[in-house]
Symmetry: D3
Subunit: 288 residues, 6 copies
């Protein structure tokens, strides 16, 4: 078999997966370090355009911690963290909004356009896409850190119908007219739930959920939502992976069919997850 | 790179080709020996469904010489050929119509359905899709061998719009109410032209157009329509390849962007032609 | 009154019937000897086009026993019947499919086109229109004789909406990928039921249901579904009329408003049934 | 052949005519004495509904001289005629408008509803359907007698598309905001022209155009527009038939395919004209 | 602030009201003396066009007592009243229908067209918009006075969708094919109910509901439907205001959000009611 | 007249203007100091929502010089101007993009949402709305200052059709994948031209074009495009007003009906311009 025949064979093997997902919705959450590497970024962009061309409604949700931190650094603005949440004063919130909705978001949209796709850059403020209220844990004041209260998907759906890939920066609007800083994973989970998505894919910079976080060979390929509490109370899953799993749980509970924590450092990991039998990373769903 | 990463990479490399052809129309002519082998047949079917899923309007046109010959054999019906054309009496025409429109056509439709696609089996008689008159070369009587007079694409377009892959048996209807036996390559060329197709792909059982028909290493990868006469008068292209090239010329003249004579014995040759940089077989177009 | 005034008067008398049925669906089952006579065939075709023009969704379902028998005869292929069902081996099934879907079906489509109508020739294999499984009565092996398991009307409805008269050959597809021979009356009843048709009209070569099958003056003009068992157990209705009545019963049970067993030997019997106060043949419905 | 078979045969003979006119537009002008007889009125209504059900866009235009005259009589209002035109003062115009748009029009609409049709009663004032200016022949003052300046068919087309038979009273609106009395035949001709109608049918109380107006056996079945001047200058066509012929000429010049002056005293004369080979009355078109 | 700045400010203050009512339906009942004054009539027309332009579906329902009375006067026709209802013989009914559907209705449509709006003049006879039966109170014969039995809003909705302001004369059709004289307020209430209107606005020639009918300073600005019985039994509301309140009650019970009895003698009272915080007249709704 | 009656009268006087502009497109350019004042900002927002509710397609284009300057100040980033253009290095371009597309744009969208409107925040990068190349005057290097090469209005039109007010930040995308800083007035003019807008409205912080720039009493209410050169060469129009006039000229040349330079410091100046006879500021159009 010459190389082109092999390539054609491989493309043809994707057919059953394309058939299964065509007409369905996939929400991809992208961020963190996977976003820094240009090659990886172009691979993510390319995957999203490909999904969209084969008839899968693709929504790209992103945060942008590194960009925010860099900008705050340039301004000499110091921020402190409480329970892992960045205390967000008025000026910080401005920087968050500008970085996410003005820089990261529109740069992604530009990349999609340059790769031949058609994208629209939205944030939670557009037509009240993401609404939030001040986070209140009864203990600390986190400033303009918000808790999502509702997601209005109409503007997403209108733009999908008109043929655009919605790229969404996770800045939310409050009832008080102020912008709020919300967790991007959580926002992606809420959006996936509100859209009745087939899949929520969280691109991270690990292989997936590991039973020993320092050993990539300990990947847990499949977790049922009912197992999550056990894994956490037994201390198997720790640290930043806990909120990520909780997001997945939320999405599944809101009706998403499966959630995936996959390795954004691997090129085309979205295609691996969606179009190959092996999949990649950890899948979370309802079934034991 | 593990195998899944490699597969995903290869799939992702198809993106620019999918982008280029999405929303366009491709007419695939399928027949002859490529049709006999079940593995090859399934590959063709799978390719057509894949094209259709990535937004390419795919039309499958077929003849079915071997089926006709087998049926005539069972009936003990002898037929003779005049200038390479089967003399087609009334009874033979019945067998042609039954074999093509009733057997080969509906079997292809069944295969598509079983592979998860949605197809509709048409022939030239449906809503006067292909109209023909008795072939008259001023010398011989070929019986119900027809010459195409017009192609009405409305029923093809209506069924594409409703989401079906049209599979078309090349039986034509005459003004006299009788069915006519028309050449399948020619019918495919007329249909491609009438649809304003991007590509006409003729699946054959050779590598393409060869400058020495007995040596597959002499493939001519690209022929401009203006070169065809030369190739023929110089005796480089001979035999059954001449009418195939004339069909391609006709299609290009009617507005098809490129025509391709490719090797139906290679699995997924349609995908190789459409989604890889190398292509396959011989391409015919307007450009020198 | 001159003849034209009389004709106009008669046409005008059809108005209330056209009003009653406009926008509704009528499934006409056509076959047997009524199909052999060309004048009668043209009258059926003409009636179907007329129904369709006055806004009635008209579906023509047909079998084609005589064509099959003739073809088998030419092949010197002997078939035997078990309980009135033709034992259908692989080769016989091919002949059935070719004759019905390739010959009878496309010839009807041609006749409709020549009469100025627009038809599409489908069979149960197109987009899985009629699905069947091997008939299993626990006693005999009938070969590829099938029992209908489901009917998918989408392709019928799509083509009605696009303005075509669907003409359907009653060949079914099995889960095993093989084609099956199914009873045309039953298929028509299932299709009428799945479409929520107003009427199922079975064109036969008798006057209708007779209380003495040898005396055409004993026509029973109206049978309620609740009376069918009684008629049969009392031996009033016998022979081939029993399965026809059972088909009508099935259709009514699936929601068809009325079923009609009418005389296909009378020209324009469909119009007589639908557009004149007298009607024709035997009507079966829910009401005593 | 029993009577029902004969009726069905006659209905079936209408098929080619229905095919020819389906999707086209017919404007029927109705008025005068044909309107007085209830049986004839019901026949006209029934014909219009039938045309509309077989897919012909049917527009009914009417005047109502007798109703106007009766109303003026009850009021003891005397009117005088100048050159055959009723001098229309303000009060007379009110009576004209009330009689046509309020009485004749809505009564026709009621009759259509009672016969199972769906009609909307419009007049030239609705959304500026018929615009007129004061008739000025440089000699006499005719009061509010108007000359049509334009016809806006949008409201007709919107209501046809929504499934209604537009019934139009020929009262026009002037630029001065006043209503104007316009000739109903002329209005029908303008409307037919503006709609690009296939046919304009003027229902009259004669057999058609006669070469001897006192001898009904002298019907001229066909007049080319180029012959009209000759017929008039030679004195063959005289009196009230002259303006009717001029209306037909106008309609043809504006693009109507044929115009017909037919006998409204014959029941279902519209159907005779449209659906029988003989036709009825006089046809005017472009061809000699 | 210069006058234009003030005007712009005032227009801008209407924004929240326009937002609240945009896409909703308002039925305006217009009649009586408010209809006589040309300035007031133009203001009503202008208000309706404005509502319609800001996206409010506006339906104008009217009676026309004064026009009817004037016409009857001209004819020297005497009518007598029984319990406040005009005894309506055949001839009177003709005058009612002609005056309402032919004169008042079409004049309003003309005024709307002249003011740049697009209106269609309908009455209860058009496509059976308002159906009625003979009023039977078990005591008196009122002739063709009708009681509404049903309202079919399809023709209203079709014309709203096509962009027209429906203007509706309150003449109803009976099962006997005769026209009936129905109360215009009641018709408006039924139409508003059937349309699921947001508001029913009755334009009258008083300030609204007064607790002392001779003292305009005693306006009751708000009445809950539950209070109506009390007001009447206590003799606070008397005379012609009682049926008007009952109409409002009917409309609210059929699902209209609020009903308003307002002063048609005040220019632009509809806009005052809808677009200013003060409102005008008396509002009736469900809330105490 | 009580105050509510006066308000209603004033609203009603806007009717002819609403009628004239309904269904047309208006591009409002907003920026500079008018943007700083919250009351004025809310008035602009409210005007845009009102225009949109009365059926006028409203597009809000904005720059944001003060926000950019403030942000650069915080960063201690010094910028210099060449010929009035800010030299834009890579880091400055980031700040421009973040401030315009991330802050000013999304804050405007939030304000519209809070005022009950539905807006989508776009910039020139979304689906390649505004394309630019590096400004090259043959003399200076301005860094990432761009010159507009094309405007693709599809994403604007898709969002208008879906019911959103497009708010557009004037950041452009280059062929090199870099973002470019373009003049907001020019971008508004190009967008208005590409949309075939009825009006381009530039909100400024002067009364309009003055013949003595220091004397607001010297407003020139109307300038024909043919007069612009004269005014400039005669030194009547000077300074920053010159490029603004050139923008208006460009827009008119591209097919916009009229351009307006109006006073953004006056509340509701957009409504004054559009809905009052006086208008405001300076109108530029084709007519002398």
């Amino acid at each position: 078999m010459n190389p082109y025949e092999e390539k054609a064979l491989i493309i043809s093997e994707a057919l059953p997966y394309i058939q299964r997902f065509s007409g369905k919705t996939v929400v991809v959450k992208y961020g963190g370090n996977a976003m820094v590497n240009d090659i990886m970024k172009n691979a993510v962009i390319s995957d999203c355009i490909l999904l969209s061309l084969v008839g899968i409604n693709t929504v790209l949700v992103h945060g942008g911690g590194p960009e925010i931190t860099a900008m705050l650094g340039k301004l000499g603005k110091e921020t402190h963290f409480i329970n892992g949440l960045r205390y967000t004063d008025d000026e910080t919130m401005d920087i968050v909004q500008m970085s996410l909705a003005g820089k990261v978001n529109k740069d992604l949209v530009t990349l999609i356009a340059r790769a031949g796709g058609r994208a629209v850059g939205l944030c939670g403020l557009d037509s009240e896409l993401i609404c939030a209220k001040k986070l209140d844990d009864g203990k600390n004041d986190y400033g303009y850190v918000g808790e999502i209260t509702s997601v209005n998907t109409k503007i997403i759906e209108d733009n999908i119908r008109a043929g655009y890939i919605p790229v969404i920066a996770t800045v939310a609007g409050g009832d008080d007219g102020h912008s709020y800083n919300v967790n991007a994973d959580t926002a992606a989970a809420y959006i996936a739930g509100a859209l009745g998505a087939e899949k929520l894919i969280l691109l991270t910079d690990t292989k997936g959920v590991l039973s020993d976080k320092d050993d990539e060979s300990t990947l847990i390929p499949k977790i049922a939502t009912d197992e999550i509490d056990g894994y956490i109370t037994q201390g198997i899953i720790v640290g930043g992976m806990i909120p990520k799993l909780r997001c997945c749980e939320t999405a599944i509970r809101k009706g998403v069919h499966s959630a995936h924590i996959i390795d954004g450092r691997v090129a085309h990991s979205i295609l691996i997850e969606m179009f190959t039998p092996g999949g990649i990373g950890t899948m979370i769903d309802n079934t034991l």
